[in-house]
Amino acid sequence: MAKIKILVVDDEEALTRMLKLNLEAMGSYEVCIENRGTHALEAARNFKPDLILLDIVMPDLEGSEVAQQVKEEPQLKNTPIVFLTATVTNEEISPMGGRVGGQPFLAKPVTVQALIDCIERNLKKS
């Protein structure tokens, strides 16, 4: 069975390493890491992920701009994006079903289980 391909874009290298370890340890995920927002689109083109985990505040390019670039790419426009960010709190996004402006959000820090639940939920929707 083909593994689910997840692209993790975050400038925190240690966090992306941890996410890759945890998700790949589940056995059903293949994770690609990109720590630079400016290289995220290229990584997505090459990796062709099933879902993108995307940080919002990055020094070189904001996550929202990366998402815009991805949505404008014909082969990637249907790829679900989950924002993983320290800029919102769980208390703020839980009453809105984990979505802000229609986009799924996960507030850092997040447990592996909450992360997988969110990934599964958004993969099903897509």
Binding site: T89, K108, T111
Partner: protein, 542 residues
């Protein structure tokens, strides 16, 4: 030279001064021309009063008028100033030389055949000095011109009183005190005009000041001058009419003097008192606003700092939590302590995350989701959420909730957060158990009792009818007095050792201000703490 124009109203005084100088020039010309040419209007007509003004006096008045008019502004160009000083010098010389003529019996040919009176000469002498020294000011801010004018004013006043009281011409300090009434009038006009031409300087600065001192001076000066003159005239007239003898007349006049001046002082004191009260009120409001401003600035700074810190802390926490999760699944090398260690680590991460969430809560201008809510119902819901905690700590709940309480416009979730925070604080204040009393009631006059710092646009059009008040009291140990004034500041806590972050009451205050409400926390005399919350009751919800 100091100008106090910021505190005074000077334009009318300057205008009067300019008009007076022009009037003096005009009347002087009319008198001179009328007398020289024998014009009927001056010799016999409606301006016949001018015929008594000697030609020398008329010409000198014209010179004085020109001098003052040229220097109507404080800053004038050099040629203008020189002409003005020349005219003033001539006025001074006419006065001086005529006085020399009188004193030594010489004839210096001043004024030709008809010599001006010694009183008029004295007045010209002083008037010339006053004009020459118009803008001179001593290092201590005294103006010689004002001294000259006040002296001359007294001479004029004496001459006028002489007329009013029908005194026969008399000698004073070697001068024959007699002056034609129109001449005296012109002198008075001049002195007033010179005095008013520099309304920001010397004594005039006090008189024109908007301060209480200026106000008092403006009230009292006319009375102080006018009342004794009037009373003196009354006494004289009634004495002449044989109404009473000198002793009785003097007694009556003195009594009247006392009554009128007490009235004047009383009236001024009353107004001053009101002004003082108003000033104090304004000062208090200013102090309060300043304090609020400082607090707002402090909060903004703390908020910015907190937002930055919270964001930076969340990333390392995310790494730690992921690491803990990984080790929980893959770090099993048989160490029996590992699960406990990892659970402790996960809890520590959770605690740190709670702190950062609290910080973000503080900093975020969260949008309120407003709806008409029953405050008693919100209290009941909040109590239900913490009931187990309160029971566990043997805390008895006493409720006194007003039954027909009006609905208020609030964000239910946020207000629940406020109450839970306060109930939990009460629980922590009563570790051995105690009483938690909750009271609600309505109060009127919102406008007087609430001065919210934060006003939201969508609520400003509503009319607040009154206040909904909630009082939450505990029977605990109270808040240390040194902490009480800072109780709403971020990171101020009495529970640091027990893991308190010191953000709870800051968030509570923020939420209350977002609702245009207020919160006050005080220690009760009988022990424990009382938190009083006030929410505006809006007419639009009735």
């Amino acid at each position: 030279m100091t100008s106090r124009s910021g505190l005074s109203t000077t334009t009318p005084f300057r205008s009067f001064s300019v008009l007076a100088s022009l009037a003096a020039i005009g009347l002087g010309i009319m008198a001179l021309v009328g007398n020289l040419l024998g014009l009927g209007i001056v010799t016999r007509g409606s301006l016949s009063f001018l015929s008594s003004v000697e030609n020398t006096a008329s010409a000198t008045f014209i010179l004085a008028g020109i001098s003052l008019w040229l220097r109507r502004k404080e800053e004038v160009e050099e040629p203008r100033r020189k002409i003005a000083q020349l005219c003033a010098s001539l006025v001074f010389c006419v006065g001086l030389f005529t006085l020399v003529e009188y004193s030594f019996g010489w004839d210096l040919m001043i004024g030709g055949a008809i010599r001006i009176s010694s009183t008029t000469a004295l007045n010209f002498f002083i008037l010339g000095l006053a004009l020459l020294f118009l803008d001179v000011e001593t290092r201590r801010g005294h103006r010689p011109t004002e001294f000259f004018i006040l002296t001359a004013f007294l001479v004029c006043l004496l001459a006028f009183l002489g007329y009013a009281y029908e005194v026969k011409p008399f000698f004073l300090f070697g001068f024959y005190l007699h002056e034609a009434l129109p001449t005296g009038f012109l002198f008075l006009l001049f002195y007033l005009a010179i005095f008013l031409s520099r309304p920001n300087r010397g004594l005039m600065a006090i008189l024109t000041s908007r301060s209480m001192v200026g106000f008092l001076a403006r009230r009292l000066v006319p009375g102080v001058i006018g009342i004794p003159i009037l009373l003196g005239w009354l006494k004289l007239q009634s004495h002449r009419a044989g109404l009473y003898d000198t002793e009785l007349g003097l007694s009556l006049i003195l009594m009247l003097n006392v009554v009128i001046f007490i009235g004047l002082v009383w009236w001024s004191a009353e107004i001053l008192h009101q002004m003082e009260m108003e000033r104090r009120r304004t000062e208090d409001e200013l102090k309060k606003t300043q304090a609020e401003l400082v607090q707002a600035e402090k909060s903004t700074l703390v908020n910015q700092l907190a937002a930055g810190v919270a964001h930076e802390v969340k990333n390392p926490l995310a790494i730690l939590l992921q690491g803990v999760d990984y080790l929980a699944k893959h770090g099993g090398n048989g160490d029996p302590n590992l699960p406990t260690v990892l659970t402790d680590m996960a809890e520590a991460v959770k605690r740190a995350d709670n702190l950062t969430e609290g910080l973000l809560d503080l900093t975020r201008p969260t949008q309120l989701i407003l709806g008409p809510e029953d405050l008693n119902d919100i209290i009941e819901s909040s109590l239900w959420l913490v009931k187990n905690e309160l029971d566990r700590h043997h805390i008895q709940i006493i409720k006194s909730l007003k039954s027909d309480f009006p609905r208020i416009s609030v964000d239910r979730g946020k207000v629940v957060q406020v109450f839970i925070n306060l109930f939990m604080n009460a629980r922590d204040a009563m570790p051995q158990g105690g009483q938690l009393t909750i009271k609600t009631y309505a109060k009127r006059s919102f406008a007087e009792e609430s001065t919210p710092m934060i006003r939201r646009k969508n609520m400003t059009s509503d009319l607040a009818e009154g206040l909904a008040v909630v009082e939450i009291e505990d029977s605990g140990h109270g808040i240390p007095n040194e902490i009480l004034p800072r109780i709403f500041d971020p990171f101020v806590t009495t529970k640091r050792a027990r893991g308190g972050t010191g953000l709870g009451l800051s968030i509570v205050k923020n939420i209350m201000e977002m609702h245009r409400g207020q919160i006050e926390i005080k220690n009760k005399k009988e022990g424990g703490v009382r938190a009083s919350l006030t929410f505006p009751i809006l007419l639009s919800l009735k």
